[in-house]
């Protein structure tokens, strides 16, 4: 089955006539490692489903690149706040490894929301999922020790440990690269 359809159908059931209108709206985007997918300061045109590869979302702060999240196969990617508000984004999204995304333009997704009830439901469900994810991360950031944050990350996304540079994971977990490698050495 089409990977886009399979991803959407994790949330809602699509009938073939609906899919025949949804499918053609998604285009394939290919990035080799380090390529910028979305640029801070620009309006995000696409909402992406990840087919393969790892991407990282970050924003510049105090001369550093603060990493706020990763995406990988089957998850969402892009500067989602800018996609929704149609205002210049605050995040860079970059390919960590070679990446294939399926993207849909804002106007196409809005039209599908309008025309196909199950698509609107899909939109609501992924937003809910994103919100729960942000809330979980917020609590973890504020209440867990560096060691606990490290352990949760490894338990949740073991394969990112191999694919993503350590300094990006350290930044994501809000710890220094030194703390990160100390924890890593202790745990292995």
């Amino acid at each position: 089955m089409d990977p886009v359809r399979r991803t959407i159908e994790r949330y809602v059931r699509l009938h073939d006539p609906d899919w025949s209108r949804i499918g053609p709206c998604w285009k394939e985007f290919v990035f080799s490692k380090h390529a910028l997918i979305s640029r801070a300061g620009e309006v995000e045109e696409h909402f992406y489903i990840v087919k393969s590869g790892v991407q990282r979302m970050s924003f510049p702060h105090d001369g550093e690149d603060v990493c706020v999240g990763f995406s990988y196969d089957g998850s969402w990617s892009g500067a989602y706040d800018s996609f929704v508000t149609r205002k210049p984004g605050r995040f860079d999204v970059r390919a960590v490894t070679d990446t294939v995304l399926y993207g849909i333009r804002h106007e196409d997704l809005q039209r599908l929301y309008h025309e196909i009830p199950s698509m609107e439901r899909f939109g609501r469900l992924i937003l809910e999922e994103l919100m729960v994810g942000r809330a979980t991360r917020e609590i973890e950031q504020l209440s867990l020790s560096a060691e606990e944050r490290y352990d949760r990350f490894v338990a949740r996304s073991p394969k990112l440990l191999q694919l993503v540079p350590q300094k990006d994971i350290a930044s994501y977990l809000r710890m220094t690269p030194e703390t990160f490698s100390r924890l890593r050495a202790r745990r292995s």
Binding site: S32, L36, R94, V100
Partner: protein, 190 residues
Amino acid sequence: MDAITLIDDLSATLRTQMERARIVRAMPAGTLLHRPGPEKWNALEIFEHMCLSSGIYLRGLERVFDERANALPFNADFKPGLLGDYFTKGMLPKADGTIRNRMKTMRMFDPPRNSGASQESIDRFIDLCERFSELLERARKTDLNRMKVSSSLGPILRFKAGDAFRFPVAHQQRHFLQLERTLQTGQGAH
């Protein structure tokens, strides 16, 4: 060498390169991302590399054409500069299609160590070739000996305008051979 023949040859080469680029643009993701080896470039990175390198000559040519091209009378003869000719010939593949001297890429021109590449790199490459072609049309009425452009080594090495066309096009020829090898090993890859 005859300036008009040179311009015709370069225009034809650029047309062939653009046609090929459009075909590659439509190839599947697995082919575009395929690396013949762990440290080798994929097709997208080859295009990005050509954009980074040729872009220097294109911008230099556009600037000098805007400043001077209209004021110079047509010169039917182009005499390559000593170094411009040497570097261009070093770039060109041999008659049997093999590459002369392998060279190490400067960091600033190495996509995997910089800002990566995407399908958009191919779009920009096609646009770059179109702009070279437009300049070549303007070159039919001016003097390619008397305008100078900084090379990718910077102002320490300046090429005559004619060489600033010849060198990047030859460099692209070289990378189109690499592109074909890369695509060949990547067929059926996903």
